[in-house]
């Protein structure tokens, strides 16, 4: 059951989007988010949304995946929608019934917010759908590398992310096994109530922690045996390389951004 969780879902492919340098893709994602927050009206939002949908089409990621990426944030979407719908007041009343009054402005703001969140998540998901976890950690290491001068442990951070990505599926599997073993011994894992639930976690967490520390110890030794000595002088099998494609994509995004800003002034 826990095994169904997938982390950093990546769909290998060979599209233009897949081939972009992961560093640029991270920057593009940040720009796309900025774009969505700059847009002040539906036209601007629409332009951004169409742009993101076009990116999906180019990447070959199925549109069904958009729905999947939205699933975890449905509560947030509903919450934002309802809150704005009832609490934003304007001059024009659209509907009034019992104690509920909905203003036209409320409806507009609510719709705007919902579309903005949906577009934002859809856009961000495209980053993890089209870049492998290793490409992403490498990109983060590279983007943060100026911080090395400030003694910020950039390489260590990237290495930790890489190891976490490797061990998360293992630990999830192990949690499953421990849960089954403890159930077989009569542990009541489906207890009701917050305190009882927390107590039921103890027989799972303790073996899990002990095993995680043991793994960490052995992994550290195996890394030493393979001459690991930090980021100094390290090379990479796959080097991130910026190509003309990345700069073209950068130009394109800046154009779209420009159109959205111009649109804000026009209306």
């Amino acid at each position: 059951m826990l095994k169904d969780i997938t982390i950093g879902q990546y769909f290998p492919g060979d599209s233009v989007i897949h081939r972009l340098d992961a560093r640029f893709k991270i920057v593009f994602s940040i720009l796309a988010a900025a774009m969505l927050f700059t847009a002040q009206n539906f036209i601007g939002l629409g332009i951004a949304a169409v742009f993101i949908i076009m990116c999906y089409a180019v990447s070959g990621i199925r549109f069904r995946m958009i729905l999947k990426s939205l699933k975890p944030i449905v509560p947030l979407i509903i919450f934002t929608g309802v809150l704005n719908l009832f609490f934003i007041k304007g001059e024009e009343i659209l509907l009034s019934w019992w104690i509920i009054t909905i203003h036209t402005d409320g409806l507009r703001t609510s719709a705007f917010m919902v579309v903005r969140i949906i577009t934002l998540i859809t856009g961000m998901s495209l980053l993890t759908y089209t870049s492998s976890p290793i490409m992403l950690t490498d990109a983060i290491e590279s983007l943060l590398s100026p911080l090395k001068k400030l003694r910020f442990p950039v390489h260590e951070l990237a290495m930790m992310m890489m190891i976490a990505l490797r061990f998360i599926p293992l630990l999830i599997e192990e949690t499953d096994k421990i849960m089954m073993a403890q159930k077989a011994r009569g542990a009541n894992l489906d207890a009701k109530g917050l305190i009882k639930k927390a107590k039921a976690l103890i027989p799972i967490l303790i073996p899990l922690f002990i095993s995680a520390f043991k793994r960490a110890n052995e992994l550290a030794m195996a890394m030493e045996c393979r001459c690991y000595r930090g980021g100094e002088g390290r090379t990479r099998l796959k080097k991130l390389k910026a190509s003309i494609l990345d700069f073209l994509a950068f130009g394109l995004i800046l154009c779209v951004f420009g159109i959205i800003i111009a649109n804000n002034f026009a209306f």
Binding site: M162, E173, K214, M221, M223, R226, C227, T235, L237
Partner: protein, 290 residues
């Protein structure tokens, strides 16, 4: 030519209190003298806690001697400045394949050692492809390790070591967590590597695996108590049993039969030999009866 040499090696595990003072010394090795020749296939036997892993960790400077010396290719392992040279010469594979694979993709993991050594990307590509093909996991090079079987994962770990082009590989119970199929795969790989000229030190508690080596040493209480060919070692059934070890099943059978008065040679190591000898005896018996 010797590749590993220990001289009067002693090692104590030190147990510290909260303030970092040594409160207890746990002696794990008592004066080990062992020489491993280039190209050798050595098996190390011994029951749990006899010091096998502790000894293995001295072969590439993971642990440093409390007393005595360890040389790898005539380099003293205590020489800090040459430690990476030593670790490249003697590669190490551990019991649990899950805990020694670093990256979330097979080929990235095989490349790990070379990345640490600062090898240029083109050469890394070439060397990892070669290593993965050698241990027959190339077809999984883009897979996530946790989707592979135990035997495949252990071969990924071996490939990660092979990529360093070591002269010697030390394997600490590499088959202990595997099913019979995985065990066979890994043993096959180990023998193939030895045939290619790589020195093998195999720590195991499967007697059948030790019987495939060319030389066996037996450890007990932190010291080497027996050293010889598998035939020599396994013919001393009482001595092995006294230190809590078994002999291969066929040897055991031959031993029991000999005790019961059947005239079998003392150094039978595999089923074929045993069957042949028994056939001779059975035939003689039948001839006698007629």
């Amino acid at each position: 030519m010797e590749i590993i040499k220990t001289e009067n090696l002693y090692f104590d595990y030190e147990i510290y209190d909260d303030k970092g003072n040594v409160v207890e010394k746990n002696p794990a090795l008592h004066g080990v003298n062992l020489t491993v020749q280039k190209g050798e296939f050595l098996a190390v036997l011994g029951h749990n806690g006899s010091g096998k892993s502790t000894l293995a960790k001295h072969f590439n400077g993971i642990l440093l001697p409390s007393r005595g010396k360890v040389f790898v290719n005539n380099i003293d392992v205590s020489d800090d400045s040459r430690i990476y040279e030593i670790r490249q010469t003697v590669g190490m594979v551990f019991q649990n394949p899950d805990n020694q694979i670093v990256a979330a993709i097979v080929e990235e993991d095989v490349a790990f050692a070379l990345e640490n050594l600062g090898v240029p990307p083109d050469e890394i590509r070439e060397r990892i492809d070669e290593a993965m093909k050698l241990v027959d996991i190339y077809k999984y090079h883009k897979h996530a390790p946790h989707r592979l079987s135990g035997g495949q994962k252990q071969r990924v770990a071996i490939a990660g070591v092979i990529a360093m082009r070591p002269m010697c590989i030390v394997l600490d119970e590499p088959t202990a967590m595997l099913d019979p199929k995985g065990r066979k795969e890994v043993m096959g790989t180990i023998k193939m590597l030895n045939e290619k000229g790589i020195t093998i030190v195999l720590i195991t508690h499967y007697m059948e695996e030790a019987a495939q080596a060319r030389r066996v040493v037996v450890m007990d209480k932190g010291a080497i108590i027996m050293d010889g060919t598998p035939k020599e070692i396994f013919s001393e059934v009482e001595k092995l049993k006294a230190v809590g070890l078994d002999v291969p099943q066929v040897t055991e059978l031959a031993y029991e039969l000999r005790k019961a008065g059947v005239k079998l040679p003392a150094n039978i190591l595999n089923e074929d030999e045993c069957a042949k000898e028994l056939a001779v005896i059975l035939k003689e018996g039948r001839d006698l009866l007629q």
